[in-house]
């Protein structure tokens, strides 16, 4: 079954009547691109948030409850300092991965905006 967004814009059911400005929100919310955008975002953001929250709280938990273990020497420093330092690099890595992944979200966004521009152009033509 062809999706609404793949139909020629003039055939989309909304365009049989002149749309009120408000119904643009419902229209976008029903688009496949938008649904895919939300899925793509949550597929990245939810695991990313869980990862950084778990990794971060492991630090106060381990230094708070196992100070002897964390004071174990590693080279010139100890485990506790290395773990704390690693938090910076993990945070930067997650941020870099997000920026890379977000290009995909931007593409969905651009397609939605292009579709709306076309829809608006059709509507104006129909109105004249």
């Amino acid at each position: 079954m062809p999706h609404e967004s793949q139909l020629p814009v003039a055939l989309a059911p909304e365009n049989t009547t002149k749309p009120e400005p408000e119904d643009v929100w419902e229209h976008v919310a029903a688009m496949d691109e938008f649904k895919l955008l939300l899925i793509a975002k949550s597929e990245f953001v939810i695991p990313a948030v869980i990862t950084f929250v778990v990794y971060y709280f492991l630090l106060p938990i381990s230094v708070g409850y196992f100070p002897q273990l964390m004071d174990k020497r590693v080279g010139p420093v100890n485990l506790a300092y290395l773990f704390a330092l690693s938090q910076f690099f993990v945070a930067w890595t997650i941020a870099a991965l997000y920026v890379r992944g977000a290009r995909k979200f931007d593409n969905f966004g651009t397609r939605i905006m292009d579709h709306l521009d076309k829809r608006e152009a059709e509507r104006l033509k129909g109105g004249n």
Partner: protein, 536 residues
């Protein structure tokens, strides 16, 4: 000391020049409150870093690490990781859905008047407490640095207060942003220079540096007469049993959730043209903030090993660790330079806080709550914000002078983060991501979070405690603390979330809020209908 004074004056002259330039360009509300939304990603990233790296970071963290070693470094870690919450959860939806303040996002689909009133009270509380802490710090710093010139604590506080009022009243967000950028660049250069000098002191050997850090003399044992040697890499010098571990976890919660609820950080994302720029600006900020906090290792441990605790204690106390380190490494010129940077840091942060507080008062309380969203005369909102900046600045000056230079200000910053994490963050997140969320939930969430975190601090060890003989920190209430943790987050954040969730579930469904959720979701995720940058 005249050199320090000269550097202070140079910074003041440059920033006043920027304010004059910005005043010529700031016409209209969008320009005044959001710098016309024309700030670029790197500029905003540097400005976010500037807003964030306050006196508490530069002077406070260096001091905490110099005195408590590893436990002080835990703050540094939390302050960077917090930006993942900003990046992944808050920045982009906020930019797309709001206009000038944090409350815009809440008011988008909830009943605007109660929500804005509560959010504004919370914003003013966070900003004022944060600001008082900065001003007490500024006053103490200026008095100490210029002690030969006879400048009093209250004169110094009034001077700082007046300058920040000038930046905000005349230059608006554009001037504030550029003051932040200059300050952040100065702060980063100073920190890099100090770190290199610390490493040079140890012959650029990390081994020698960390070896010294593992054997820090913390004073002389009065019984044996021998000096006490401590390993500063060892956790637990500050957060001791039985509650130390819980306090660390609680601190971590307030840091990583509080940052994304700090009004003066959130408003920065309205100064950029779109959500994508907001995202890149967070990344810029993370690079700067992360590098800075990693270097606090050299600042703090350097002060502990090279300057020594006993010297710091008798020459201005913990907060002077970084400037004293500069003096020990490269003499008075560098001392003056680092002190001037600390002064610039405080001034810039205070200006950032003032503009977010006055924007919230003018936009949320005045226009939208009192006058139901109608601006009666053109330019009224900007005028009200300017007057508010005077009032907010005046109140902060008065309280800072009343508290005096020896006030324990750490709890004010802890309070600001706790309120931001417990009151602001739950309602921001739930209004963006939970369809069923309603007005009652938002009001109760803000109220519970605000009252809960303030109460827990009042009955905690920052305020309550029995001063031992010769104690340097004086407690306001001489009784054993009822709540054992310094950081209330572990309890107050769940209280804030519980208020928001229970308030929603126990009150009826709000059809308009659920209907508008679709609109908010589309707008937050696509930027459709978001506020545009203004032309020149």
């Amino acid at each position: 000391m005249s050199l320090t004074l000269g550097l202070f004056l140079a910074f003041i002259v440059v920033t006043l020049g920027i304010t004059y330039w910005a005043a010529q360009r700031s016409k209209g509300a969008g320009a005044y409150f959001a710098a016309g939304r024309r700030i670029t990603a790197w500029q905003n990233g540097v400005a976010v870093a500037g807003d964030y790296m306050s006196a508490a970071s530069f002077l406070g963290i260096a001091g905490l690490i110099a005195f408590f070693g590893y436990d002080g470094f835990m703050y540094s870690v939390g302050w960077l990781v917090a930006y993942l919450t900003v990046l992944l959860v808050v920045a982009e939806p906020l930019r797309n859905a709001g206009k000038y303040t944090m409350a815009d996002v809440l008011a988008y689909r909830l009943s605007p008047r109660p929500v804005r009133a509560m959010a504004s009270i919370s914003t003013l509380t966070v900003s004022t407490f944060y600001m008082i802490a900065q001003m007490v710090g500024a006053g103490a710093l200026v008095t100490l640095l210029l002690k030969d010139s006879g400048i009093h604590f209250s004169t110094a506080v009034i001077g700082v207060g007046l300058l920040m009022i000038v930046y905000v009243v005349f230059g608006g967000m554009l001037a504030t942003t550029w003051v932040q950028i200059i300050k952040a660049i100065l702060l980063m250069s100073g920190t890099i220079l100090l770190s290199i000098l610390v490493l040079a002191h140890f012959g650029f050997s990390f081994g020698a540096f960390f070896d010294a850090v593992s054997h820090v003399s913390t004073g002389v044992d009065p019984k044996t007469g021998q000096s006490i040697i401590k390993d500063f890499l060892q956790p637990g010098l500050r957060y001791k049993p039985p509650y130390g571990a819980l306090d660390l976890i609680s601190l971590g919660m307030a840091l990583i959730l509080g940052t994304a609820g700090l009004p003066h950080i959130l408003v920065r994302f309205y100064t950029v043209p779109d959500a994508k720029t907001a995202r890149y600006s967070v990344v810029w900020a993370m690079v700067l903030i992360g590098s800075f906090y990693i270097m606090t290792t050299f600042l703090g441990f350097g002060a502990a090993t090279i300057v020594g605790q006993s010297y710091i204690k008798t020459h201005g106390g913990t907060n002077m660790s970084a400037p004293l380190l500069a003096q020990a490494l490269a003499g008075n010129v560098f001392f003056a330079f680092i002190s001037a940077i600390a002064f610039a840091t405080i001034l810039a942060v205070v200006a950032g806080l003032t503009i977010s507080a006055s924007t919230s008062f003018a936009h949320d309380l005045w226009t939208n709550v009192i006058h139901r969203g109608v601006e009666r005369k053109a330019g009224e909102e900007v005028r009200v914000a300017r007057i508010t900046a005077f009032v907010v600045g005046g109140v902060a000056m008065a309280i800072a002078i009343a508290l005096g230079p020896t006030a324990n200000v750490a709890f004010l910053v802890a309070l600001a983060f706790a309120v931001a994490a417990s009151a602001n963050l739950p309602v921001i997140v739930l209004s963006i991501y939970w369809k069923r969320f309603n007005t009652t939930g938002a009001v109760l969430g803000l109220g519970f979070g605000l009252v809960g975190s303030i109460l827990l601090i009042l009955i905690g060890p920052s305020i309550m405690g029995i001063d031992g003989p010769g104690a340097t920190v004086h407690h306001l209430i001489q009784r054993a603390p009822i709540f054992p943790l310094e950081n209330p987050g572990i309890l107050s954040i769940p209280i804030g979330f519980a208020g928001a969730v229970l308030g929603t579930l126990l009150s009826g469904r709000e059809a308009s809020a659920e209907h508008k959720f679709t609109e908010l979701q589309v707008r937050a995720n696509t930027g459709l209908g978001a506020e545009k940058a203004t032309a020149h």
